[in-house]
Symmetry: D3
Subunit: 245 residues, 6 copies
């Protein structure tokens, strides 16, 4: 099975971290191809940056999805996910979506934990968009500086531990580590957390494997049927081909 | 990986059908053990029957869960699921829960299709319990007799096709076949349905594999920590051991 | 009027407490028959224990409901209530349901107060199941040991008082004392609480009287019509008769 | 026990109908005093008319509530209910509120049936105000003329029967007859309806009896504590006394 | 353009304050006519007082709406708004409604800030009535005495500042100053508040201008069509004319 | 007052139509500058196309917002709105958002009417995103071909009339014409529609005027404070300046 893991952020070192976590989670026989956005911010934290990330996602899929069995959109917040699901014939899963739905099988209410308060609104809107506000005990964020985005995992793993206790006190049965820069951190600290801990990248890879294995047909009805062809201007040839179908 | 698939209905032939579908869906290396309830109705269709099914689920898990990596509660409606999740240290997933959460990655709104109107209230309450009413386009039921519960799949596959069109007209992006007696039917008709079709048993097996692979710790906090020990009377020795922990 | 008050817990002394509170609340001419579960835990506190309580409820009704005018399921959380309502031709009311609906006529938002944190998830799920989350200001629990379940009322009445102030601060207009072991406590402390206080047993008895007096017909349509007959195995003769109708 | 049944409409003949139904529903020993609004429309059907009804309710309570044990606001839609509950020290219950909460103990979803489409928005807002939209299968209205408001019961009883089938098809487990002019109709047709039928007046009387029997204290905290005294102009002496406390 | 600004409170000095704020907010060419209720409390703070305010609103509109282009109901909580919208052929906007809808264009979640805890339940019910609970971060109230209602603005402006920080901490993107006695305060303190601040009177005037400019037709269908004529007693001639249409 | 009206579609003729409607709706003294996206589809109809539209919106604002008093995002569905609101210091309003919030002051429930079924999912998600599903009676779409996007208004005005009756039957108090190609159609047919009709462009222009007049400060707290600076690659110089602040 071949999975495309597309990082809508433009930091290659974060993609490397994602790829390592994805490969650790993948089943034997699953091949991971990880790609990095070529436009946009070093990491996406806000609605404005997610606008850029949405196009970056579609660009990556336009260039790399051929021959894949499923795709992971590897930024928590899932930029461009709905559009990608319309356009592609293979399953597409978002990191936030996959983490939340997986968490729903491990507890009544999940919490999302991340490394910067700037991410809270975008994550909360993602919870709402998925219709899962009733299952969410809150988004809990560290509010302190970090030296660089790629150092977040190393610098903040211990601090994330304290967030888990705040989340549990707020009613969480399970905690999700959101934010691609935190990929892999769950495995390091899980045995010191009192509830199950979900790694967004690992959950997304497993769910992409599920969808690829179930091999659903591309919808020709419903809201994820392919959009009709339209005249387009000013977009890349790859994107134009993707939209043309 | 070893999965226990516990059928809370008392019809062995339905268990056989579930087991065949489970094995077809399982990854290489996944071993399926399928067991049948020893008490209760031939198939569960109503709230009253689900009360019996809840205990039957716990009884089966008490007897067969040792040495397993995860458990599937294989009746759509998930009788006893919450209790099982409290008591066991390994992941437990319900067939309805797994099917709905999987469907959420394939579309905005899912429909549940089944073979008898008697099942509608129980299924609808299950949707509500999971907090997924906002993602559900409806529960659609055939309203016509069948010769015997084990013949439902053979007799009704074509009729289920017509339900998919009703569901699509009502806004469904994806259809779930609910009801263990329909296990395996999705594979037979999927290429004639205009949206992705989810088999409850297949989805549950795949999700149980995901959870077993992620290997989450047993919660010691939150609402799925183990219940404290209590004095119990009138229950089977196996159940007593399960509750004693 | 004859009311059956069925305690799904197996502690006779709690039943005695329930019965005394029920008789104090009953109208002249109402005769209370109180029975105790013969299987399950000394008291129900969790989802897993409530699975056992659901069957215990149906068993008690199977044996004792004949000749009654209405039934009270006397554990807060209402185990087996939906099933009982399907099977019986007389009204059935749950203690939690009755207390919450009664409280809705005394204020905008109610709080549920109880004696142990273990009960919180089950009670919260009961609020949600009744569609009353928007009317609920929270479930407030003591978090401290008690010597034995039957001593809870004597030991904790004063401590419950402090919970009422927490509930009022959280927006409660009315407080419900949940948990059968607290039956009768409301009457002792009501004059020291600043908002109306609802005793679950008293509310349930009064609502059972209402329903018996209104004497509604047994539904032959809708989701509480009687389930169709099914082949059953491994259940008690009384239960078999109840299901057979 | 003494109950005040206050009809916020100005048609005495409707009050007579309400009073007869109330007395038929009341327990032995309950004395019903029925009064009629002295200002406003012959019957309330719209939001604008309900504004008048709200004041009429408070006026009637100001004049007649002394010495009563509880009050029924006897127009479906409950004009002035919240205000009355703030001002009075005895329980106040609305006809719509009581009917809906009673119906919740007889089924999963209730329908409200009435005699004129003009009433639909007001009733729907009342459902929403009570936070019970999730329990309501719809408001179903006859759309045909009637000779006079007092003749509605006689002219429309048979036509209401056909509405019950529409409501059942829409998912209702129980039907409520809303609208004071329909008081007493439920008893006439209940044996021909396939689900339980709730008479708004009867339900309100029984619930007022419940609240009077439970004898809750007047809140001194929460949102139904008495309003502080304020300077008032242009209101009747009775109303001024009621507000002055 | 001519706007009627109707103050349902009976304090002329508050009307003067409202009128000054309204004129400051109005576009060139907009003429403001401000009127004061002739019956009811000095200021409306509770559900009971709002019942009086609803009739006062209709009375003022009956006397003064002729020749106007739109109407503002100038008490936060919008007493009588729905009824006024049914009866009048010109647009009617409520101060709370306008402030909340305007705030929705300035942020994800708004907070309502006011000068007395007595107002909280009425304001919260108004949020709920508008279906905007999901957009509301809370109602925040000062809990301290004031010398007289007309002095509130002068005495409490600084104290309101501290409430804005509480609201921001609770998730507010924008703050609304609710309560007619606070009209004009927003302009005084806005530059010291970290999020946009909405003055209820200013927002209502601007929205009334919008609606008057759009000049929508009076509905002859839907729930705001005019009520049919009914026999009315005991109401003022002006009100009788308004209802007669 | 200067308003920028940014059309995220790439069809200049649609921009011309929008501009004409905007100028007709604008107050004296309001100057409208209308610009057209330089990248993306001829018109946006789906989630995938909206991803492109989001970036096109930010590009247009980056180039043209300087010196403006407020901005209108002139595609129903509001692509890029949240991001734009974070980045700009002047008010930004979306056409769908403005139309829905305006409609809320004209009725209890609004319907959205448009010219193609392809638009339904995107519009529905926009309703949900705004938290207004409870105020929405549905999205109603023509399901028939049109010769070219710029001819939609001329070809479909009469057909839209029939949709208004379907919307009214479904409970709509007010109808919104969604979709920039329908700009101006409301004015042509409003006198034949039985409920108020809202033109998206006109509503957005009026609301932009409101916000510009209220002149709210740029948030420095809450979720619409400006994003912190980040390293960006592969974006236009104008966009880079916009993000740099």
């Amino acid at each position: 099975m071949r999975l495309l893991v597309a990082n809508p952020n433009t930091t290659q070192a974060v993609t490397d971290r994602i790829a390592a976590t994805a490969r650790a989670a993948a089943s034997p026989g699953t091949e991971i191809t990880a790609v990095t956005a070529r436009t946009g911010p070093e990491y996406i934290a806000t609605r404005a940056e997610a606008v850029l990330g949405g196009v970056a996602t579609l660009e990556m899929l336009a260039e790399h999805a051929d021959g894949m069995d499923a795709v992971v959109v590897a930024a928590f917040g899932d930029p461009g996910l709905g559009g990608a699901r319309e356009l592609l014939s293979i399953p597409v899963v978002g990191m936030a979506e996959a983490a939340m739905l997986t968490a729903c099988m491990l507890g009544r209410r999940f919490a999302i934990l991340t490394f910067a308060v700037a991410l809270e609104p975008w994550y909360q809107e993602c919870v709402d968009y998925n219709g899962l506000a009733g299952r969410c005990a809150g988004v809990f964020c560290l509010d302190e500086p970090f030296s660089a985005i790629i150092n977040v995992a190393a610098e903040k793993a211990e601090r994330i531990l304290s967030l888990t206790e705040r989340a549990i006190a707020a009613g969480a049965d399970v905690c999700i580590l959101g934010g691609a820069p935190l990929a892999g951190v769950a495995a390091e600290i899980a045995d010191r957390v009192r509830v199950p801990l979900v790694d967004g990248v690992a959950a997304a890879v497993k769910q992409a494997e599920v969808l690829a294995a179930l091999n659903p047909r591309k919808a020709t009805a419903g809201t994820f049927r392919r959009p009709g062809a339209k005249s387009m201007i000013g977009i890349s040839p790859a994107l134009a081909r993707l939209f043309a179908g």
